[in-house]
Amino acid sequence: MAHGSRQNPAAPDAQPEQDAGTTVELVRLRGVSKSYSRGKQRVEVLHHIDLDIPEGDFVALMGPSGSGKTTLLNLIAGLDSPTHGSVSIAGQRIDHLSSGALARWRATHVGFVFQFYNLLPMLSAQKNVELPLLLTRLSAAQRRRHANIALQLVGLAGRASHRPGELSGGQQQRVAIARALVSDPMLLVCDEPTGDLDRQSAEEVLRLLQRLNREYGKTLILVTHDPKAAEHALRTRHLDKGTLVEQG
C-alpha cells in the first residue's frame, strides 16, 4: 500500500480550490447546510458549517446525539450531498457528483469504519478485507496479497481464514479497519468505531487508528461520544444543534 495523500486530477468534476502558498486542506467545507424532510416539516440538521481539515490530521467530532455528527461525516465521505454549500476533498468538489460518480470516488478515496463493523458474515476475514479491491483491476493473487498486508497491519494475519462470527468484537473492528485501509484511501472516516466495544478492545482499536495517522500519514475523522476516545485524536471539533461550536 502507498502512504500519504493523493489527488484525483483525472476526475472530470475536479475543481481545485486551494490558494497559492497555503497548506493543502484535504477537507474543505464552506457554508454547508443539510436539511431533511420529515413529513411536511423541514428539519435543518447542519447550519452553515465551515470546516477545514488538513492532510494528515486526526480529528474527533464530538457532540450530543442529534447534533449532526454522523450527517457531517456522511457529507465528507460522499455518502450524502449538502442542501447548500460546498464540500471539497483534496481540491475536488464532490457535492455536485452524481451517485454513480460518488460511488466511484468513494471506492478510491475513502475508507469506512462503522460502529457495528458491518462485515459480511459468510466471508472470511481475508475475503471481507478484499471487498473494496474487487472494484479494482487487481488479480486474485494481488488482492490476496494486499488483504494479507492490511490484516498484518491490524495484527490479524493469523485470523485471515476466520469468519466474523469466530472473532471477538475488537478483532472484527480491526478487520473492518483493514478493509477500510486496503485500497489505500486518503481519508478514513470512523463512525463510533468503539461504541460497541469493551474498554480494552476500544483502546486497542483507538491505538491502531492513532498509529495509522502517525506512522502512515492517514487523515482520520472520528465521530464519537466518548471523550476518552477523542483524546486519541490530534484535534477535537464539537457540534451542537448542527453548528460547530469550538475549535480544538
Binding site: A103, F114, L120, P121, K127, P132, L134, L135
Partner: protein
C-alpha cells in the same frame, strides 16, 4: 469479469443454508414435474407418422369409437402391399367391479395371432384358442392379478355391447396364458383377448362392424403409400378411414380423455405460478435481511449495476441449480416409469424440453430477482446504515 464476485454470490446463498436448500428443493420438484409433463406434452403433440412401420391401424377418420363396416376387410386386403389383415373391437367388459379395469378386446383370432408374434403362448393353448368359440387368452400379469388358471370361466359384464337375449354377462373360457416376447412390451400382459365372431354374433347392436383394422404391410418402407391408399379408397364414403401407426392410435385412445397438451400446459402453468410466488417471496425476504450488508457494499463504492447483478444472479443461480437438478431427476425417472409401465409410457426427455427448461429457469430467475434487485437500487445508503 463477474467471476471475482462469485464469493459474494456464494455468501449470499449460504447465509441461510436451510432456506436455500428448501428453496432449491421446491425448484427441483417443480422442474422434475415440468420435465415429465413436457415429455407427455411433446409425445401427445408430435405429428403422426407411419414411415418405417410394418403394422398400421385403420380407424374411422372422425373418431376411434365410430365403428367401420366389416365389409372393408376384402377391399383393404386387395390393396397392393397388404400382407395380413386383422380386426378388433374394444369390448370394455367389467370383471366383478369397475375398479378391476383391464383392456379386453374381441379379435379375429387367426389373423391377430399371426400379425402379433409378440404374444407368446404354447402351441397347444394357441390351438385351443383358435378352435374354442368362447375361448379367451389372458396375459400373464392379469392372470396373476386375479389368480385365474386355465379352464376357469371368466364372466365379464358388458358396458358397451349387451347380448341379443337382453343379458349383460358374457362368459369366456380361459384357454391360454400369454406373455410378451420382450420386456418392453410387458404392458400387453394386462390384456384379455377373445373371439370377434362370438361377440359379433351375440351382441344386440353394431353387428357386422369392427372397431379398427390392423394391417401388416409387406415392406415397412412402403407403409406411407399403403396408408394413403387405404384412406383414399374410402374417401368420401359414409365411413372414411384414418390409417396411422399403433403408437398414434394409442395416443388417440388417451386423447379421448381430453386435450392432453392443454391439460399438461395448464398444470405446468399452475406449478410455475406457485413457484414464482414462493421463491419470489423467499428472495424478497432474503434480500430484506441483507439490506445492511448491501448498504455497506454500496458505501465502499460498489456501483448500482454490480449490486443489481449480484441480486439477479442469486435468483438465477438458484433457479438454474434447482431446475437442472429437477430435469436430471426427470431424465432418471422417465426410463424407470417406462420400465414400470412395461414400455407403455416411454417418454424421453428431448433437447427441446432441456432448452425450454433452461429458458424458463432464466426467465423465472429474472422475474423473482427483479423486485428485490430494484429495491437495492433504490436503497438509500445513509438510511440503511442508520438501520
Amino acid at each position: 469479469m463477474f467471476v471475482k464476485y462469485l464469493p459474494l454470490l456464494w455468501a449470499g446463498l449460504m447465509r441461510r443454508k436451510t432456506r436455500t436448500v428448501l428453496t432449491l428443493l421446491s425448484v427441483v420438484a417443480a422442474f422434475t414435474l415440468f420435465g415429465m409433463l413436457d415429455a407427455v406434452r411433446i409425445a401427445f403433440n408430435a405429428p403422426n407418422s407411419v414411415a418405417g412401420i410394418n403394422r398400421l391401424i385403420v380407424t374411422s377418420r372422425f373418431s376411434i369409437i365410430q365403428p367401420l363396416p366389416f365389409a372393408y376387410t376384402s377391399r383393404i386386403q386387395a390393396i397392393t402391399g397388404v400382407r395380413n389383415l386383422a380386426y378388433a373391437i374394444w369390448f370394455g367388459g367389467v370383471y366383478q367391479d369397475r375398479k378391476n379395469f383391464f383392456p379386453n378386446m374381441a379379435v379375429s383370432v387367426h389373423e391377430y395371432l399371426t400379425i402379433h408374434p409378440e404374444l407368446v403362448l404354447p402351441a397347444a393353448q394357441q390351438q385351443a384358442f383358435r378352435h374354442t368359440r368362447t375361448g379367451a387368452i389372458v396375459g400373464k400379469t392379469l392372470v396373476e392379478r386375479f389368480g385365474w388358471k386355465i379352464g376357469d370361466k371368466i364372466p365379464l359384464e358388458a358396458t358397451i355391447f349387451p347380448k341379443k337375449d337382453g343379458g349383460n354377462i358374457w362368459t369366456f373360457d380361459l384357454v391360454g396364458i400369454f406373455h410378451a416376447d420382450r420386456p418392453e412390451l410387458q404392458g400387453i400382459e394386462r390384456q384379455m383377448l377373445f373371439h370377434y365372431d362370438y361377440v359379433d354374433e351375440g351382441r344386440m347392436q353394431d353387428q357386422g362392424t369392427v372397431g379398427w383394422y390392423i394391417v401388416q404391410v409387406d415392406d415397412p418402407a412402403d407403409s406411407d403409400r399403403v396408408a394413403l391408399a387405404i384412406d383414399r379408397l374410402f374417401a368420401n364414403s359414409a365411413h372414411e378411414t384414418k390409417t396411422q401407426s399403433e403408437k398414434d392410435f394409442q395416443r388417440s385412445f388417451v386423447k379421448q380423455i381430453g386435450n392432453i397438451g392443454l391439460i399438461v400446459s395448464i398444470i405446468m402453468g399452475a406449478v410455475f405460478f406457485t413457484l414464482v410466488l414462493l421463491t419470489g417471496n423467499t428472495m424478497m425476504q432474503a434480500i430484506r435481511e441483507r439490506i445492511p450488508e448491501l448498504a455497506v457494499l454500496k458505501t465502499i463504492g460498489f456501483p448500482n449495476r454490480i449490486v443489481l447483478l449480484l441480486v439477479l444472479s442469486e435468483a438465477i443461480v438458484i433457479m438454474l441449480c434447482g431446475g437442472l437438478g429437477g430435469l436430471m431427476l426427470a431424465h432418471t425417472l422417465l426410463p424407470v416409469m417406462a420400465t414400470a409401465t412395461s414400455g407403455q409410457l416411454n417418454l424421453p426427455l428431448t433437447l427441446s424440453t432441456w432448452l425450454l427448461g433452461v429458458a424458463l429457469m432464466i426467465l423465472i430467475g429474472l422475474l423473482i430477482g427483479l423486485p428485490p434487485a430494484l429495491r437495492t437500487l433504490r436503497l438509500n445508503v445513509v438510511d440503511a446504515l442508520r438501520g
